[in-house]
Symmetry: C2
Subunit: 591 residues, 2 copies
């Protein structure tokens, strides 16, 4: 069975050596000294590794049940969920006013990685609740907030997001679910929603569904969509629970992975709903949560890569197979461990350099969200908005690949379910799809974000890279990092230039390169992160750290990323600069 150990030390390195959080003037950051964050991460890590992780394979093997309209969760989920609630983890980054602890997103994200790495399917029950609560927090009336938030922050009630219908996923303008006004401020919601994660289960006494629907007579398409609160069980004025609402589960889906999470077909049959935010402004309400939600999915992709990597390393150290070509490393044993072989190391270094670089990128993103929200910094908001599709798309694509590489280290043992390596890939696979498939992330990046505010945010990103390279360009100890980062950044600029020059004539020239641009951007971001981490490591070593091996390892891993992963940027640029001619040339019948 796979194990999970919280990567606390690496998180501490990113939070303090790289992001230097406690020195930040973002409200709430001053408390985040090393001891404090370490205590939080250690405590969360204990629960994640000790209680939540062992249920990962259980959830995969058992899945959820659906009998007589009732959804059951796998053995042990309910008890573990109680422990997570009791520890106060569900409200970690929620306002104190509603029972939370008001921690910054950077801490919520780090802790989220721990729980998700331990058990993605399990942690989604809380994750969806967090998303729904955030929407109510931003768009709800005082009464709605008072009614729902305390229960949702504590996860006594969980939440869901209902967007997709059978005939519409990305294109929500095609939506058919209707909301008929009842004259008393409430609406009757009717329609079918599919792929509803945590749609129903036996771990909470109520479920607060957020449902997108159209009010008859409103504008066509996406502009006529509104957002509604539809509780599973009606809530009386005194906050007690009343009768069942007109919402039921039609079926649970049989999926490739995340079996422990109940993915439901939800039927709304004149269910009572309450408008959340303004009429016809449902998409806007959804969009305000999108940066956080997409960052959360990027986090999930990364978390599976971390969990799979940990197990692959242990297997590579334990499994004896073949001999080191440069001389036996375990001469008294029947063979050397797998980890002596160069190609196994290549696979592990690919994973390690991605996981650690991706974590820095993710936490930097969360840091920017805090800056945007807590310091009301519009530039930070613009920058993280630009990078959000990259965080989501790149970290989930690469995270998935990373789990596949980890599985490969096991050979045939990775293919049987016994070792749990197949589950990491099957669970990670969904992160490339939900919360906007990665092709849609690329479209968002190139079609919307690049040009937003006259390209101000992408210029700001380049400025960050440029400033870093300038500051450390003369530092010989940084030569291995600044050069490759500069080159990669030039490729990204050239790609942006290509889009500007050609996308005007024909938007397909830009869109045909959008996916490659997202990956090019991701590599430059991880290149920047590795350069910053190398700088932090050099600083620690110069200051005579007592943990030189840790920082030396960072430098080696940074060198690996520069030498072995960053060369991908030239390939993506070449693909982009080939334009859309060969992509668009065929008629549909010729495929």
């Amino acid at each position: 069975m796979p194990t999970y150990t919280a990567p606390t030390k690496d998180m501490q390195f990113v939070l303090h050596d790289v992001l230097n959080v406690s020195a930040s003037d973002i409200p709430g950051y001053a408390d985040l000294d090393r001891d404090f964050t370490n205590a939080i991460l250690e405590e969360a890590g204990k629960l994640a590794g000790g209680v939540v992780a062992p249920l990962n394979v259980v959830g995969d093997a058992e899945g959820c049940s659906f009998e007589n309209g009732v959804v059951g969760t796998p053995t042990g989920f309910k008890e573990a969920f109680e422990q997570v609630k009791d520890g106060g983890w569900t409200g970690l980054d929620m306002p104190e006013e509603f029972g939370g602890q008001n921690m910054p997103a950077v801490i919520g994200t780090a802790v989220g990685e721990l729980f998700s790495g331990a058990n993605q399917a399990f942690t989604m029950y809380q994750g969806l609740t967090h998303g729904a609560a955030s929407a109510i927090l931003v768009h709800g009336t005082e009464q709605q907030k008072a009614t729902y938030l305390p229960k949702m922050v504590s996860c006594e009630w969980t939440g869901t997001m209902n967007l997709t219908e059978p005939h519409c996923g990305t294109d929500l303008g095609l939506m058919r679910t209707k909301a008929e006004p009842q004259g008393d401020g409430s609406y009757k919601i009717s329609g079918q929603k599919i792929f509803i994660s945590a749609g129903d289960h036996d771990m909470a006494e109520n479920i607060v569904h957020l449902v997108l629907a159209k009010i008859p007579g409103g504008p066509d398409g996406i502009k006529g969509v509104s957002l509604f609160i539809v509780p599973k069980v009606m809530v009386n004025e005194d906050g007690s629970l009343g009768a069942r609402n007109g919402v039921s589960v039609g079926a649970i889906e049989h999926k490739m992975g995340i079996h422990g999470n109940s993915t439901c077909v939800m039927n709304y049959d004149e269910a009572t709903g309450y408008l959340l935010g303004e009429e016809h402004k449902g998409m806007r309400a959804m969009f305000t949560m999108m940066n956080e939600a997409r960052l959360g999915v990027g986090m999930q992709g990364l978390s599976q890569a971390e969990a799979a990597y940990q197990n692959a390393v242990e297997y590579a150290k334990d499994r004896l197979q073949g001999r080191d070509v440069t001389g036996a490393k375990n001469p008294d044993g029947p063979a050397d461990p797998l980890i002596v072989h160069p190609d196994i190391r290549r696979a592990l270094m690919d994973q390690k350099s991605f996981v650690e670089g991706g974590r820095a990128f993710l936490l930097w993103g969360a840091n920017l969200i805090d800056q945007a929200h807590r310091s009301e910094d519009k530039d930070a908001d613009g920058l993280v908005s630009l990078m959000t599709p990259v965080i989501k798309g790149f970290l989930t694509d690469e995270g998935y690949q990373s789990t596949v590489q980890a599985q490969q280290v096991y050979g045939g043992h990775g293919y049987i379910e016994e070792h749990g390596m197949s589950q990491f890939t099957r669970d990670a696979r969904i992160t490339m799809i939900y919360e906007g498939a990665n092709g849609v992330q690329a479209l968002d990046l190139v079609g919307r974000k690049l040009a937003q505010d006259s390209g101000k945010h992408v210029m700001a990103f380049f400025e960050i890279v440029k400033t870093f390279c300038k500051e450390h360009g003369d530092d010989e100890a940084m030569a291995d990092f600044v050069g490759p980062l500069k080159d990669a950044s030039k490729h990204l600029q050239a790609a942006g230039m290509y889009f500007m020059q050609n996308g005007m004539k024909n938007p397909n020239h830009a869109l045909a390169g959008s996916y490659d641009f997202m990956h090019l951007f991701g590599h430059v971001c991880l290149g920047l992160m590795w350069a910053r981490m190398a700088k932090a490591a050099n600083t620690a070593l110069a200051e005579g750290t007592s943990d030189a091996a840790f920082y030396e390892t960072k430098l080696t891993t940074a060198r690996y990323y520069m030498a072995r992963r960053l060369p991908a940027t030239a390939m993506h640029l070449a693909r982009i600069e080939s334009g859309s001619d060969t992509v668009m040339a065929l008629d549909a019948e010729q495929f």
Copy 2:
């Protein structure tokens, strides 16, 4: 439910327009005119698409059963297997002497792709039998051949290959299974073998296990391994079946995919076995079949990519979602089909250019095997031996990625099992692992094959590329293809040069780049195939073909491959040329 349509037209194009098989002087090729091969492919395609393909999801959902020591196959498998046997498909490329039809490997491989594309798990029962029969054909005594081959060619009896043990997969020198000589020419085989595909089932009256084991007192390690025939049911002298042999199924494995194939733990308890080939030469006996077996696995990877691609195309044409940014293509409908979107096309073109290029590469490989065996051409044998790890490793890695891309086209519908797209990726995943994990293929390529016969075969490969580029370098209609192929080939040569110059000093410098080299080589091979296909298309168009659209599509797809896939070669070269320093630097504890 997914469907499967035999890609007969594309196979015909490769066989005739590109490989020009009927003009070849390889014995048996003269019969292969267009009508004849078309009739075979059409007939096989009918059975594959109509009978075998509908059982693919059935096999995945039901899996195999194991009760009271008896393995059962999914509903319908037995009946379909009878139809495949009745059609004579199991002996297509086996000698007439034993009931086969003596077709060349190039036809066996094309037909194999059809059945495997329709249902990989099902077709493996026959595939394993083919492998075991081939071993008996080459290494068996006259009596062994007479006893087993007629039954195996017809698949009345099926076969298995028993190599792996719990503690040894790649490193077979660690093997513990023993073979005690009985003085009467037979041996008592005892030990446990795992991951035995088609290890037991209810579709044949006997199963012929080929088992690697050690005869006590023989040389240590891999040099002391012998190969044995161990029938499930003893065969009497008159060919009738006798008592059960001492072989039983310990368990069936629960796997990520290929659920329809029974992967067994086999227990040999003083089972009677008969030496196949010479004592202690078991590995040599295995190796003689390895080119064919690995080509067969490359074929499987490709076959899943083809099947997944076909369904992704249909979905992209049917599913209405969003609008073409350059103007509505389906203005009377609620939205345009997915296929109008550039990023969907990019994904489909990636798949199309891989599948068609990979098929040409695969059939070229089979063509070379025929040349090697039927024409006893040692140069062809050397060349295909060099390319075999590339065919296996590259076609399965890329084949798997291709199925992931196809799944992605479906969005959330690709993640639920209902549409069958998840199965393609789960089934394809094993092809990267079995018959030598792809890292081992890379090791074989760089550690053994490159330098074989003083590098003669890789020089021969470069000569083929060079000759092609020279012959068509002045042809303006070939300019889009010859230039990129030349560049890619230069990258491959530079990588080989790097290995020569640095691998001597430190073999890790070569081995750390082995995986990238395998992919670099694969891209050059597909580049060569696309250049040859472009040439064939130009020729057909110049000759006034009545099917111009087909050939024009080939040219567009060739251009796509050159512009969008071949740029990967520079990245792989950069990774290779970074050497092994960053790969090998860390101590095991630092991972």
